[in-house]
């Protein structure tokens, strides 16, 4: 990581660069075009060569204090100015302020007769004078190849072009030279032979009826540069390149948690909601309440005083505001205060990349803390190709690198069992994935919500039923029936059944208690009876014992009587034992 930075810094020091001021292009080229050298910009018709050249000059003049000269070979100065006025560039004003010279070089083959040897010294003088008149540091030649159509003597022209580029280098001006794409070659007339320090290729192709623009740095002598094809767009703000490398996986993450706007959902997500700067995917079947979850989140963020951008790709602003008002979420208020910015457009409108790029532009301008894209699925429907996914990755990376929390909604297929598969393409990019689904049971459809995943937090594994009420989303306690989670009437029926069951159980318990009491009483009675019997037995025994002891006493008495009577019969001197018979 740090070693790469060191390398970058050292190459940056070796080769001075002129920033183009075009968003993304300076990132891709590591700082801009080679300073004091010509750069070739080639591409087919309508691919944005002229615009790139003009932006290079305008930004140079306005932002970097480098006046410029635009030498137009195709269009008159008025046409050039009119073409870029719609993009917010006032060339006439820059010309008045002596920051720009626009010179139209008119050369029509049919109006010119060649009568012998010549050179293009007139062009040099003209350009030199324009450069000197405003102290220009930048030049754009658009499209100098047109000279090939105006002049017969190609050998002279080629020699003069070679001299021109050398001359531009000597004068230390940074130049952009545009050229038409050739058949199998970079340029139709082989300009790459003369301008070889930096070559940028622009491409405008149509895939699946969607036009996409691409930019590639073919060559950059003495500098590291991005070698990929980068999508770019032209919109009301000019040209913009979407660099992939701008965002990586090295962004710091926040540990701060922010509310989802739905207290019950906060509770499901470890008690405190989403992580700030994370990306959240809310997918679900049609009408399952995805937008409502998004609106809750937006309203909560606005309530906290954060700025939000809501990108709607299917509904207009009014429609969303009205619909959300029906569940008690007042978005109008935040729109009025400017904390919520709404952008509604169909992705197919100006090409997928174009749309994504304009979104990143809005994000940069508004600098929101929260971004909602509703629904993201329309992008995937526009094009299934892998680069669409790549673009989403880039956009999410951009948001993450800026600690912007992004909530995306996506329409999932209603086919049972595929809910979790349809989103696999983008689900891996998101940190928290909420799945909304319909339960069709007993002739009605009800909504359920569960947290499929949520990175870095303990989250509920329950499926909750959620209700859209006049005051927003309410998550209802789970109700488990014999067939799993019960929702809607089934849930109510189940709850009623449970109440009845509980009452029945209560009654049952009472009955059992009474039975037991009786049993206990019976038992006790039996015990009492046996105890009485035992007592009687005892008495009988006692009596018997008494009787026996009485007999023995009498016997003893009788014996004693007998003895006494015997002794009385003999002498008193004779002891008893002898008295025995």
């Amino acid at each position: 990581m740090s070693s790469i930075e060191v390398v970058r810094r050292s190459t940056g020091g070796a080769l001075a660069k002129s920033a183009t001021g075009i968003e993304g292009l300076d990132t891709v080229t590591g700082g801009g075009l080679p300073r004091g050298r010509p750069t070739l910009v080639c591409g087919g018709a309508g691919c944005g060569k002229t615009l790139l050249a003009i932006e290079f000059l305008v930004h140079g003049a306005v932002r970097f204090g480098e006046p410029g000269v635009f030498l137009a070979f195709e269009e008159t100065a008025e046409e050039v100015a009119a073409n870029v006025r719609a993009l917010g560039f006032d060339l006439a004003d820059l010309v008045r302020r002596e920051l720009l010279v626009v010179d139209y070089v008119h050369l029509e083959h049919s109006e010119i007769e060649e009568t012998g040897g010549y050179d293009l010294e007139g062009l040099f003088i003209r350009l030199g004078y324009a450069l000197d008149s405003i102290g220009a540091r930048r030049v754009a030649l658009d499209t100098i190849e047109n000279l090939f159509g105006g002049l017969e003597n190609e050998a002279v022209l080629r020699a003069e072009l070679r001299r021109l580029f050398r001359w531009l280098k000597e004068r230390q001006v940074t130049a952009v030279v545009t050229a038409e794409r050739g058949d199998g070659t970079l340029t139709r007339h082989g300009l790459e032979e003369y301008v070889s320090d930096c070559v940028i290729l622009l491409d405008h192709r149509v895939i699946g009826q969607i036009a996409t623009r691409r930019l590639r740095v073919v060559k950059y002598r003495g500098s590291a540069h991005g070698t990929n094809e980068y999508p770019f767009l032209i919109d009301e703000g000019g040209l913009e390149v979407l660099p992939i490398t701008a965002a990586g996986l090295d962004h710091t993450v926040s540990r701060e948690r922010i509310s989802t706007g739905i207290p019950d959902l906060d509770a499901m997500l470890g008690g405190s909601g989403y992580y700030r700067g994370s990306s959240i995917l809310v997918s679900g079947t049609a009408g399952s309440g995805k937008s409502s979850v998004a609106a809750h989140f937006v309203a909560a963020a606005c309530e906290r005083g954060e700025r939000c951008v809501y990108f709607s790709f299917e509904e207009s602003q009014d429609q969303v505001v009205r619909n959300m008002a029906s569940i008690g979420i007042d978005l109008e208020r935040w729109l009025g205060q400017g904390t919520l910015v709404f952008r509604a457009a169909r992705p197919s409108l100006d090409g997928l990349e174009g749309h994504l790029a304009s979104m990143s532009r809005v994000v940069r301008e508004v600098q929101p803390q929260v971004v909602v894209m509703d629904p993201i699925g329309t992008f995937l429907s526009v094009s299934e190709s892998a680069d669409v996914r790549g673009l989403l990755v880039r956009l999410l990376d951009l948001l993450k690198s800026r600690q912007i929390t992004a909530l995306l909604t996506n329409l999932a297929s209603a086919v049972e069992g595929t809910l979790e598969q349809t989103d696999v393409g983008i689900s891996s990019l998101t940190d928290t994935w909420l799945l909304l689904r319909d339960f069709e049971l007993g002739g009605e459809r009800n909504r359920g919500l569960y947290v499929l995943k949520s990175r870095g937090m303990a989250h509920s594994n329950q499926v909750r039923e959620f209700l859209l009420t006049g005051h927003g989303i309410e998550l209802v306690e789970v109700c488990l029936g014999g067939e799993g989670v019960l929702v809607g009437s089934a849930r109510q029926a189940q709850q009623a059944r449970e109440r009845v069951d509980a009452a029945a159980r209560e009654q049952d318990a009472g009955r059992r208690r009474r039975e037991l009491e009786l049993k206990r009483q019976a038992m006790e009675a039996r015990i009492a009876a046996q105890r009485a019997e035992l007592a009687m037995e005892q008495e009988r025994l006692d009596r018997a014992l008494d009787a026996e002891s009485g007999d023995r006493a009498r016997l003893a008495e009788d014996r004693a009587e007998t003895t006494r009577s015997r002794q009385a019969g003999r002498t008193a001197a004779e002891p008893g034992p002898r008295s025995a018979p």
């Binding site: 050369l107 009568t115 293009l120 003209r126 004078y129």
Partner: protein
């Protein structure tokens, strides 16, 4: 061309034209950049052709772009030397040292009766 000044100058070797603005009057302007062999050759070639075909009916003005660089833009000059026929209309442009006489005559659109 010996003394390039701030303003375009008439060719001193050409006699003053008799009837300026009259029909059939030729107003020619030769753009050069300093005194190069090619410029000198172009002027010589032009004089020769004019004397031959337009005696007394033409004016040659020489513009040195080294001295008047701003004129390159306003007069749409690219190649050097460039000869511009300002009169009679329409404006015509010839580039090169005017050594190919046939092409010069075609380019200037001379009428055959001259």
């Amino acid at each position: 061309m010996k003394d390039p000044t701030a303003a375009p100058q008439d060719d001193p070797a050409t006699p003053a034209p008799p009837g300026q603005g009259a029909p059939g009057y030729w107003d020619l302007r030769l753009y050069v950049a300093g005194q190069t062999p090619r410029s000198v050759a172009a002027l010589a070639n032009l004089r020769k052709i004019c004397e031959e075909h337009l005696a007394g009916q033409y004016k040659i003005e020489i513009v040195d772009l080294m001295a008047n660089p701003q004129l390159a833009r306003s007069d749409q000059i690219l190649a050097i030397p460039t000869l511009v026929r300002k009169l009679p209309p329409p404006v015509r442009k010839l580039i090169g040292d005017l050594s190919q006489t046939e092409r010069v005559l075609v380019g200037l659109d001379f009428q055959p009766h001259h």
